[in-house]
């Protein structure tokens, strides 16, 4: 499983299929503070991610 948080922060995990929410919490990320996309599509936190999939995690910056 591949988590892309930014160009400089890409995490490869040896992880069985699991909900996005569980994966984020294990990485110390509050699911309310990010948006997750897979194949360019936004997905909710209860989406199950397969072991060989790649997801992008977009941090929501404060302000604006």
């Amino acid at each position: 499983m591949k988590l892309i948080l930014s160009e400089k922060d890409v995490r490869i995990l040896d992880h069985p299929p699991a909900p996005v929410e569980q994966i984020l919490l294990e990485q110390g990320i509050n699911p309310l503070e990010v948006i997750v996309s897979r194949n360019g599509k936004v997905i909710p936190e209860d989406t199950i991610i397969a072991a060989d999939e790649e997801v992008r995690i977009i941090r929501i910056a404060h302000g604006g």
Binding site: L32, I35, V42, D46, I48, A61, G63, G64
Partner: protein, 315 residues
């Protein structure tokens, strides 16, 4: 939860379905246990913003709504939404106002983003700067007092927006404050024992001395705003203000976000509690009477307005 997906090690891997149709969901509204697809999410958000505006009578026929557009995500979503919803009201126009505080390495990108957005929507856009209005950039003013960044910037920006709105002929000033911002403010005012500020409602001013401020996104979460922008191809990954790490709000934001995650509905309940306190406030206990600043004559609650008090501290 329903959902299409592939099989992977005996586990079904897929996206939950929208609770209202068969399309893949993009977001789950946890407090309602409701999954929404792109179309239903956008429609839901636009309806909720419309309801907030109508219920609180934020817009009236003939209004000129000046939108405080920093170029960040909240004000970008606000301008997009108001631009889309505007046909619901008669004879209402939008003007965007951007304040360049003068924050090196940060403001350039958001200013550019604001200009691009107003150009693409064909909305009149006014830019003002701290340097032009107050003689110095924020970076210069903050030298040696960075820990006060948000307080000083907030006071000056409020004044700058009021000047910009007046120059643009605005009847209302719309800001992109969202549910997270508003609930954080409730907690911060309580932490500071600042009850007058807690119950102050700049949207209601019978004196006519202030431009009426409206917050159409005040019941929309930060995550919903970001999702709305991404789904509308209007998301820009912009830098965070370099002064935010000095701010108490940053700590409150993190704490409240954790609490909201564990207890969905917490932020909304904080807003409801504030509104209840507003309704039953005793004037003598928490309200401040409106006076005029001894120096400049602007409306304020003490002898001097915040700007003149700030000027004194700068010598």
């Amino acid at each position: 939860m329903g959902g299409d997906g592939m099989s992977n090690g005996g586990v079904k891997c897929g996206v939950p379905h929208c609770s209202l149709c068969n399309e893949p969901a993009v977001l789950c509204q946890r407090h309602l246990d409701l999954h929404l697809c792109k179309a239903h999410f956008i429609a839901d958000m636009e309806l909720r913003v419309t309801n907030t505006i109508k219920t609180r009578q934020m817009i009236a026929p003939g209004d000129c709504i000046t939108v405080a557009l920093s170029g960040g995500k909240d004000s970008t979503a606000l301008l997009l939404l108001l631009h889309r919803l505007l046909p619901l009201w008669e004879d209402v126009r939008l003007v965007a106002i951007t304040i360049d505080e003068g924050i090196s390495g940060y403001r350039e990108e958001t200013m550019h983003s604001a200009e691009h957005l107003t150009d693409s929507l064909g909305i009149e856009h006014h830019c003002l700067s701290f340097s032009g209005l107050f003689g110095h950039s924020l970076d210069t003013l903050l030298a040696g007092r960075e820990s006060q960044a948000c307080t000083i910037c907030g006071i000056l920006r409020k004044k700058a927006l009021a000047v910009g709105a007046r120059q643009a002929g605005g009847t209302k000033l719309a800001t992109g404050h969202n549910l997270d911002d508003e609930s954080q403010s409730v907690l911060m005012n309580i932490f500071r024992n600042d009850l007058p500020r807690l119950v102050r409602n700049s949207g209601v001013d019978s004196s006519g001395k202030f431009i009426t401020r409206i917050k159409p996104l005040s019941l929309i979460s930060e995550k919903e705003i970001a999702t709305y922008l991404i789904l509308n191809n209007a998301w820009n990954e912009l830098p965070e203000c370099p002064y935010t790490h000095y701010a108490m709000r940053r700590e409150v934001r993190s704490m409240l976000s954790d609490f909201e995650y564990k207890h969905p509905g917490t932020m909304f309940n904080l807003i409801k509690s504030k509104e209840k306190i507003e309704r039953c406030k005793k004037e003598s206990v928490v309200s401040e009477s409106l006076r005029s600043c001894n120096e400049c004559g602007d409306p304020c609650s003490g002898d001097l307005c915040q700007i003149c008090r700030l000027r004194q501290t700068f010598g």
